[in-house]
């Protein structure tokens, strides 16, 4: 786990005009918009499945999952392949985002606490904020996003 502490590199991406960043340690791969086969009668935030080097990759419509309106698939759209923990098992999942911008380095201690007001986004998925080149980025924590997912599946 110490190694993870040392990686301070973040990838930035956008989702319906909001700026996000995520630690690259959690990201396996970035795909240009792949061909996605929708799965009928599934949850609205499940976009479909795609072929990732011969295995089936479930794609999550991140915009829908986060309740962010106005996320549309364009030629800039991309899929972040992440490893997530679900029921004590590591699985691969693809997160559909509007665009991937750049990579920057940041120190952990520079992370700003989440302000209690003025944030439209559901803060329970966030680790905090970082400020880079004058812009604020929301730090997304994948595990938090999917810990929630596991619970939903149980309740259904």
């Amino acid at each position: 786990m110490e190694e993870e502490e040392e990686i301070k590199t973040y990838l930035t991406f956008t989702l319906s005009n909001e700026l996000f960043a995520a630690n690259v340690a959690g990201i396996q791969n970035i795909l240009e918009m792949p061909l996605i086969t929708p799965v009928p009668k599934s949850e609205p935030y499940m976009k479909g499945v795609s072929n990732l080097r011969g295995s089936i990759l479930p794609i999550i419509d991140t915009g829908v999952k986060f309740n962010l309106p106005g996320s549309v698939v364009t030629k800039n759209s991309a899929v972040l392949v992440v490893k997530i923990m679900l029921d004590n098992e590591m699985i691969d999942a693809g997160l559909l985002v509007d665009s991937v911008s750049e990579v920057f380095e940041y120190n952990k201690e520079d992370i700003i606490e989440i302000p209690s007001v003025g944030v439209t986004f559901n803060t329970k998925y966030l680790d905090g904020f970082v400020k880079y080149k004058g812009k604020h980025y929301m730090l997304l924590n994948f595990d938090k996003v999917f810990a929630d997912q596991a619970k939903q599946n149980v309740l259904r």
Binding site: T37, V39, N153, L155
Partner: protein, 673 residues
């Protein structure tokens, strides 16, 4: 040596498993001499192998066990429940010992001492020593077709330094047939010069055995360099059966002289009753088949690798098919066709290799029923039928725990205590049945008991408590029983948790669903419960039909398709009831677009697939039928858990993903409406 140890451990696992099932057989038939004989022999192989490969704990421990069964064999000890219990416990312990850990855990240690004490109490005063027959000839194994040998085994004094016990080697030989053994101590030095770590004994053996000369040499394989070994073939006759010859052997048994081969041959020639024996041996020989290798043991990882490669081959083949079709090169077409044929055969073969009969699990199940039943003070009979039914080994693996859990439920909560059963007018002994059979493209495993059935009120109360059912509407008995399969019914997290009142069956159901299977429950108060597990034959590759719905491709397993019709839309008939008459049969139908909640689309010609499951049929309308396709089925993954009508996905030749339809679920839904 590590390699040898691994090999031995594999072999020992087989022996131990064999032993376990033999003991369970003995439990049912306590006086069966041939089972006892086989148990003894298996223990002996375990002991011999253990000693040779440095599993000394296993070897020493088994030695004691073997002594017990030697007494049983000799009729000096009766087979009792306690004896079998101790032996089964011992086998569990041997399993632990086989792990060959440098240090046993405190728990295992105390278990070890406890069992050892039990064993010793069985052996009693008759501490195990090699049995001495009055005529010095030991009949260990009945051999009909064999060869007589003279063997001289003179180990070097230092042989015991590397942990070899020469006695075990002699013993191993002796158990393979009828033998006369003579030990020589001529080299024994005076006491002051004696090194207690050295071996001063040598052995002469006259043996009639099934072993070949090569196999006898193998017994001494690891001590070859450290001993003088002489093996002489004395012919196909059991010379030890000759009275004159054995009299001669007995006469010299007390002397310190070595045999000498010449005298031996001379004596043999004089023993004129040998000729008759030769005739007898030839006669027996004809009745026996030659011993060829018919099966080999393969690491299961190698099989997995093979299956993975075949899966990749099938996917690559699909890509090649696509390219060939686009290219229209006649030569390529021809090559591709024969390649496709080979791929298909290879796939079928690879599948077949990975199939295992459900039988392989029988011993575990039997053991569970026996042990847990005894713990709870219940007498239970366990019956199996159709367990020769074969399933993919990965399915067998995933289904073992669920079946064990269901059995545990049956024993713990299904079968009542003997007194209660008698009160209800049932036989005191409970009955659990496990049967398996093929139905179309699935295998069904049915586990039933003749116990109390599922307690309706308890289930209902729990369902209401867990918010799974409001308790407003009236449910049928069957509906109530099936409540226990709802996710969240039980609080048990894992299948292996001890069963509660039908608790954990929802977890069992989830496990079964993960491998594209299904679970059904039937229960009648005081008559018993029956749980059916429905499993796909294979997990990974299927012959499928590629269809198109709403511009996306889907796969339907070919084996479930009865017929494909192209109909005029006017032929649909009664569109209200959604029943179509095809070949004088009324079949419920639906459009996949409707099932999947897509936009309807109107065409004049309708493509309709009639699919079957057991004796039910249903028809589904699709946009287009594209053709056959071999599909490597992959799971959709946990994020799509609980998906109805889709059982997996496959990658097509062009790299896109097609979904695999679960037609059984569609049929169920259609025929229920």
């Amino acid at each position: 040596m590590d390699n040898f140890q691994k090999k031995f451990r594999e072999e020992a696992e087989d022996l131990v498993n064999g032993l376990e099932s033999l003991l369970l057989k003995l439990d049912a038939d306590k006086n069966n001499g041939s089972i006892i004989e086989e148990i003894f022999r298996t223990m002996h192989s375990l002991k011999g192998g253990g000693a040779m490969f440095g599993f000394n704990a296993v070897s020493d421990f088994t030695h004691n066990l073997e002594s017990i069964y030697d007494l049983v064999r000799a009729g000096k000890l009766a087979v009792s429940k306690e004896l079998l219990n101790t032996t089964l416990e011992s086998i569990d312990l041997i399993k632990i010992l086989l792990e060959n850990k440098p240090e046993l855990s405190q728990n295992d240690k105390s278990l070890f001492t406890e069992i050892e004490a039990k064993i010793n109490s069985f052996i009693g005063g008759e501490k195990s020593t090699t049995r001495k027959d009055s005529n010095f000839i030991a009949h260990k194994t009945e051999v009909t077709d064999g060869t007589s040998y003279y063997i001289l085994f003179e180990p070097r004094p230092q042989i015991m330094n590397n942990g070899t016990n020469p006695l075990y080697l002699v013993d191993e030989l002796v158990t393979s047939g009828t033998a006369f053994v003579k030990a020589h101590h001529l080299n024994l030095p005076p006491l002051e010069k004696l090194n207690p770590l050295n071996c001063y004994t040598s052995w002469e053996i006259v043996i009639f055995t099934k072993l070949t000369e090569e196999q006898i040499r193998d017994v001494f394989l690891f001590v070859e360099d450290e001993s003088h070994i002489l093996i002489d073939n004395l012919g196909k006759t059991n010379i030890l059966e000759s009275l004159k010859f054995s009299n001669y052997l007995n006469s010299i048994s007390e002397s310190t002289e070595y045999f000498d081969l010449q005298t031996l041959t001379l004596k043999l020639n004089n023993a004129d009753d040998i000729e008759q024996l030769t005739f007898k041996a030839d006669y027996k020989l004809n009745a026996l088949q030659d011993n060829q290798i018919t099966s080999i043991r393969v690491d299961s990882e190698k099989l997995d690798n093979l299956m993975n490669l075949v899966s990749e081959l099938v996917t690559t083949q699909a890509a090649l098919n696509l390219y060939t079709e686009a290219n229209k090169d006649p030569k390529l077409l021809q090559i591709n066709e024969s390649l496709e044929n080979i791929t298909r055969h290879l796939r079928d073969l690879a599948f077949n290799v990975s199939l295992l009969p459900i039988e392989t699990l029988n011993t575990r199940f039997r053991r569970l029923v026996r042990d847990l039943g005894a713990d709870l003070g219940k007498e239970i009979e366990f019956e199996t039928t159709g367990t020769e039914t074969e399933l993919d080994k990965s399915i067998i693996q995933s289904v073992t725990d669920p079946i064990m859990h269901i059995l545990r439920n049956c024993i713990d909560h299904g079968i009542e205590m003997p007194a209660e059963r008698t009160k209800k007018g049932k036989p005191a002994k409970g009955l659990i049945k496990l049967s398996a059979n093929y139905t179309g493209n699935t295998v069904r495993i049915i586990i039933s008991d003749d116990g109390a059935g599922i307690n309706e009120e308890a289930v209902l109360a729990k369902a209401i408590a867990n918010d799974l059912f409001k308790g407003t509407s009236k449910l049928t008995h069957e509906e109530i029983v099936n409540l226990i399969l709802l996710p969240g019914f039980s609080t048990a997290k894992r299948v292996t948790d001890i069963s509660g009142r039908g608790v954990g069956l929802d977890v069992v159901k989830r496990k079964i669903t993960e491998i594209r299977g299904d679970l059904e429950i039937k229960s009648e108060p005081n008559k018993g419960t029956s749980i059916t597990i429905i499993l796909p034959l294979t997990l990974s590759i299927i012959d499928g039909l590629l269809i198109d719905v709403n511009k996306y491709k889907y796969i339907v397993q070919l084996s479930v398709i009865d017929k494909i019709y192209a109909l005029d839309k006017n032929q649909l008939g009664n569109t209200k009831n959604k029943i179509i008459i095809l070949d004088d049969e009324q079949i419920p139908y639906s459009n996949l677009r409707e099932i999947f909640e897509f936009e309807p689309h109107n065409t004049d010609i309708i493509q309709m697939l009639v699919v079957k499951y057991e004796n039910r049929k249903a028809a589904i309308i699709v946009d287009d039928v594209l053709g056959e396709h071999q599909a490597v089925v992959k799971p959709l993954g946990k994020l799509y858990r609980g998906q109805d009508f889709i059982s997996g996905a496959t990658i097509l030749g062009d790299g896109t993903v097609a979904l695999v339809l679960d037609t059984n679920k569609i049929i169920k839904q259609l025929s229920n409406n």
